[in-house]
Structure formats: C-alpha cells, structure tokens
Symmetry: C2
Subunit: 352 residues, 2 copies
Amino acid sequence: MDVQEIDLGAVREQVDAVLKDFLEGKARSAAVRSHPPEAADILRNFLGAGGKRIRALLCVVGWHAAGGGEDRAAILRVAASLELFVAFALIHDDIMDDSATRRGRPAVHRELRTRLGPSSRAERLGAGGALLVGNLALIWAQELLHTADLPLHRRRAVHALYDAMLEEVMYGQYLDVMGTGSDDDLDAALRIVRYKTATATVERPLQLGAAVAGADDTTLELCTALGLPLGEAFQIRDDLLDVFGSTDGACEPGSGDLREGKHTVLLALGLRAATPAQQRRLRDLVGWADLDERGAAEVRAILEEAGARRSTEHMITTRFEQVLRVLDTAALPPAASRALRGLAVTATQYTS
Amino acid sequence: MDVQEIDLGAVREQVDAVLKDFLEGKARSAAVRSHPPEAADILRNFLGAGGKRIRALLCVVGWHAAGGGEDRAAILRVAASLELFVAFALIHDDIMDDSATRRGRPAVHRELRTRLGPSSRAERLGAGGALLVGNLALIWAQELLHTADLPLHRRRAVHALYDAMLEEVMYGQYLDVMGTGSDDDLDAALRIVRYKTATATVERPLQLGAAVAGADDTTLELCTALGLPLGEAFQIRDDLLDVFGSTDGACEPGSGDLREGKHTVLLALGLRAATPAQQRRLRDLVGWADLDERGAAEVRAILEEAGARRSTEHMITTRFEQVLRVLDTAALPPAASRALRGLAVTATQYTS
C-alpha cells in the first residue's frame, strides 16, 4: 500500500468538504424548521476563517498508521468531528478570556454582541449566544461521530477515546481557570499543557484514527508515545509564540497570556530562574489587564535574561527529538511515518 | 406482563443510583489522575439537591410503552443520561441569567465565585469554571449513552433522537437569548416553549425510552402525539408559576422571568389582550433588572385584568385534555398508560 505519500493537502480538502456539507445541511434544515440558521453559518465562517486542521490530519495519519482501509467516509467524518470540537473549545475559551479576536476576525461572542446593537444587556446576551453556538459545535461534533458508519466494536473504541479526550480537555481548562497553584509550579503548568491541549491535539486524534482502522493496543500505545511529547512541544511552542512571536516575524510578539497571568511553562521557568528582584517585577507586571507594551517588553527581557526562553526552547527540542526516536524504531507503514515526521516539524518549528 | 403498576418511586431510586455510581467513579478517577475532583462532586451535589427526574421517569415509561424488556441496565443508563443533560442545561442557563440560586442552593457559578474568594476576576472565573462543569455534564451525559449496552440498530436510533433533542434545546435557548421578535408574538413564544423545553422534557425522553426497546415508527409518533402537548403544558405552567406562584402556596410568586423580560406565552397573551395604557405599563415594567415587588404586583394585576392568566391556564388545560384523549385511544400496555396519566397530572397541575 505504501510507496505513495499521504497527500495531506487532499485530506485537508476532503475534511473541509465534509464540514461544509454538514453545516450547510444544518443551515438548510434550520431554515425549514424555523430555527435560527445563523448558528450554522457562524460555525461555517469560523471554520472557513483558517486553522491548520492539524487534529484532522493527525487523525487520518493515525488511520493510515494502523493500516487504513478502503472506506474513507468514516475516517473523514471522525476527522471532521475533531475540527468542530476545536471550534467548540475555542469559542468557549474566547468567552472565558473575553478575547477580542480569533483567526483575524471578531471572536464569536463579540460578533454577536455587535449584532445585538447598543444595549446594556448586549454583553451578557452576546456571551450567552456564543456559549450556545459553542455547545452546538460540541453537539454536532458528536453527531458527526454518531453517524460515522462503523461496526459496533470500533464504534465503542472510538467513543471511549473521544469521551476521554473531551473530559481531559475540560479538566485541563478547569485547572487553567480555577487553578490556585503557585505561578512557579512547573508541574502544574505541564499538567495544564498536557490535559488542556497536548492529548487532544496529537495523542487522541492519532488514536481515534487508529481506532477507526481497528487498531490493537500496541498501536494505540504507540500513538501515546508519539502523541504526548509532540502535543506538549506544540503547546509549549504556542505559549512561547504568544509572548515572543516567531523568529521570522510571521507571528507578532503579544501580551495576551501575560495579561491573563496564564500559568505557562515559560512563566514558571522564568519565576524559578529569576533573581528575587526579577521575581517581584514579574509578579507586579503579569496577570493585570492593564499591562501595556512597555511592561510586556520588560517581562520579555526578564524571561530572556533569566534564561527561561532558552530553557523553554530546549524543552520543545527534547520533545521533538523524542518523537523522532519513537518514529525511528516504530514499525509503521513508511508513508505514515513520513507524514508524521512532516507534521512534527510543522507543529514544533518556531518559524511557522 | 401488565397487571402490575410501574413503580415510579423505585425507578427514580434506580436512576439516582446509576448517577451516584457514575459520578463517584468520576471523582475517584479524577483523584487518581491529579484531575480536579470537585467537578464531579459539584454535579453530584447538584443532582442530589432535588429535581423531579421527570425526564428519566418518562424515558423509562416510554420503554415500557414500547414493550420494555428483561435487561434494565441500558434503559436506566439512558434515563440517567437525561438527568445529566438537564444539569448541563440548567448550569449554563444560570450563568446566562446570572441566577443567584438553583434548587435552594447557590447556582454553580455563584458557588465557584465564592470559592475563589474576593478578587476582581472571581466573577468571570467563576462563570468560566461553571461553564466547564456544565460542559462536563453534557460530555458525561453522552458517555452514559455511549456505554449503554445496546445493539447497533437501537444505538443508532437512540443517538439520532438524542442529537436531535440537544440541537432543539440549543436552538430554543438561542431564540430565547438572541430573540429579536416582538414581545407580543405568541407564535415566537410558543416556538421557544416548544424547542427550549417541550420536546426535551416529554417527547424526546418518551421516544428515547421507546427506542431502547426497539420501538417502530408508529410508537415513536405516538410519543410525539403525547409528548408535544404535555411538554408545552408543562412549560407554560412553569412560566405561570414563576409569575403567580402555585395556588397552594408551595411555590411563591416571583419576578425572575419578568425582570429578564422573558418572551413567555403569559406575557404575549397579556400584551395582546391589554389596553394601550396597560401595554405601556407592561413595557415600562417588564425586562428591567431593578423591577421591585411593587412593580411585579402591578404586572400581575394587569395580566389578571387582561385575562392573560385565565387564557394561559386554558392553554394548559386544553393540552392536558389532548394528552388524555390520545391516551384513551392509544393501544398502550395498561400499566404504561396509567403511569403516563399520572405523570401528566403531576406535570400540569398548578398546585405542585
């Protein structure tokens, strides 16, 4: 089966076509039954505005890794389901953080607030509307899963993995929101990374794809061995990009996470390596909504000076190398192995 | 099979036992994996604090109506799933309305806000934590469904009905939150009643139970014929109780819906029947957060005088009678028919 490469560009188009068909169907049936059609439209626009579909691609690669099969309809449905799940998580995240934008457009709760026009209740109602659109994204993600044509045994395996993934993400977000741990607790920061993002970004998508192909436990464990380090590297890089931007300037340095006071690995490493005076400055600056660019620049300088940026990059590199080691020894179909190597580079390089 | 009655008290206890076991298991596995165990605890307390389990009971009665069976484990799991779904919907509803209490205890977002202690961010973080606990309730509701032991054909039917129910409720809530229709639009008010509550309270639970028993289309349609009028009567009564309380005093008159300016059937009927002067007063008073008891009393007096209370009671009665007519002609197992009659009385009488 395997002289050919996996055409990830084509996979992406196929997944997008499933999402487009599904959401157009939802908009049509809403119109017929006097339901508000804009919920489906908002999700279509949200998905159309960008996103790398990394989870969907990993899901399809996981399916190839476990031997794939002739019938592509079920795997594309499961892969598409992951992208609706991501939309759900991001829309709710943006409500909780009151983020202004997402993928270069107004965040959904901000867009709905604007639609409601000037009113004392628009802020609360806009957030309520976005919460419901997010819920629909989750409900529809599961509908895509329920309507994937799978034999009972594989269906059970897919549901068990998907339910575990959803639970992990909620727990990770809960720790992030309600977390009372100290800001220099590296273990706590890594736990948030692991559950909020790492498992749901790489490990579970790979496993879900493999389960659609009827994978055995050995293959599912291999997905974990690849997925955890790659997922952590991906998220740690994301947190690094949020503060420092990318070296090629494609991603601007920002201050969102710093204003939020997010318990990131970068910040925990900074606080642990900083002098007492630097620690005081970091705690004076981070976690305040009014942090300005000058303050953010000072935080960046302290994180550089304390070596936190370098240590964080090192954590990404060691995880990336771990992924390559696992790939080198795993008995995977060569095309799946090459596709995973390519996705690992995409997901961890600083310049994308 | 059917000289015996369906022991609804016993069913309730069995459903509660499934929920308790499931959530205790979630708390235990959270503790083992360093996840926050309080999410499961909050849901256990939420479900333990009350609720009539009307949806779970209707689900089990629907199962009996379609012939039931020997294996009760699957139907109890599906019935329990409905109660976790209700917890999800109520927790999110309370965030959107910023309700202070639920079932005589602080609403979940208020409880979490208190736990966070005095902080400028406690309000937003408490709402975020509650949003995630609500999401977990939905995710776990679906996990209960996924792990119910059903053959593939029935599993598909159950998922299709459940997905339709979730979508309807979200659309109903979306109309309620984002609705821009005029406040005297009786059709819009009935549409909100239908989708936000009526189908999810009676029709879908009956159908889900019937589908677990392998019901044919005729039985599913009978569930609709019973479920829509009963569900509407239930919700219209709920809106009436919110404003006027119950005649036996068990439920106090309130002003929550009036402050919210909810587009209820009661209000739409009032606005349609009121004189122009009364309409102006209603619009001056309803929909303002600072409505006091004196203002609420004036609203009640206008609604009485315009005959809206009486017309609303009449709408409940006609729907209740419709349910009885359907029950009289339906070829249901007698015990299921009697149980449905009893639940119809419970769900529509003004004095409970």
